[in-house]
Symmetry: C3
Subunit: 128 residues, 3 copies
């Protein structure tokens, strides 16, 4: 088991961790890389890492659609929006690799999606 | 392969199964636990298990945003909302474990999300 | 590592690939089948494969809720909706199998969800 630490600086933010994940793969190895975040107000996803406007548009849409303050919300920490986004985006990823390299498509990057920062986050990495 | 049975009592409900999953892990073992639900109108997710208001807020938001009756829906069973929620939340989870214990964060619990109950549901558990 | 090719013919479409996946499983084998799509504007999901109206309703709802043209979107390719849907539906699946057969429920089918077609898509399949 290995751990990647991620520090967010804003409440909502997508932070690319493709490089950190790649560095922890066994050299020349093949298998599946399982990523798992131990938090309930962030998520893990794979999306485009070429044009940063994709991140902007995704965060804008999620913020508008799942607002922090919403009629009927009861949770006293006022971050139910972040919990909902976490469950919809998901808290784990499974990515195949070969020859020590992630089998990502040309435009794919791995992101920690911060929905209730700024915080320090941990992502577990397990090779199977 | 092991199976966890879950009985829901309401149409929409989040039922924690962390204990049931933990009990099925190999003593002192390490690896990844794959959970898979064999249904198309429920889901599996990880979220906060401290304040029950988080569950309330999540179910409220999903119910309002993805209504059971929606202009244009054709499916004769009138549960397309549940199918959509199932695909968004997801029907499987991959969770690493060590020393026979799930590597969940302090506030994380595993939930079966019932979106079209009351029903009896099955969750498969496979260790890899 | 094996590859499944999928050809979409519309912008938004759910294409069942259960048969293709089943054909690539090891005869009489048991384990977990990991599916991974190398694209950022489609997804993989499991949902009902009996009544095609479920697919219709899901695509209709996603199209209405996550529109292609949305105030504030900046991405020059005008397909941010597809990127968002991809992250919400997810780009991988983990499905247990036994005796060379997927342990799907009676009504479950595996779908590639095209959100920005028509295109040729690739799905990687890795057995663990």
């Amino acid at each position: 088991m290995k751990t990647i630490s991620v520090k967010s600086t804003e409440r909502e933010e997508m932070i690319e961790i493709t490089g950190e994940v790649s560095n922890l793969l066994p050299e020349n190895g093949a298998g599946v890389c399982v990523l798992f975040t131990q938090h309930t107000t962030c998520g893990l996803t794979i999306n485009e890492n070429a044009d940063p406007d994709v991140k902007h548009d995704m965060l804008l849409f999620l913020k508008n659609t799942i607002p922090q303050y919403y009629e009927g919300f009861r949770h006293f920490e006022h971050n139910s929006d972040a919990h909902i986004k976490s469950s919809l985006v998901g808290s784990s990823l499974t990515i195949p690799f070969e020859n020590g390299k992630l089998l990502l498509g040309r435009w794919q990057g791995i992101y920690l999606c911060e929905f209730d920062g700024a915080r320090e986050r941990k992502v577990l990495l397990k090779i199977i």
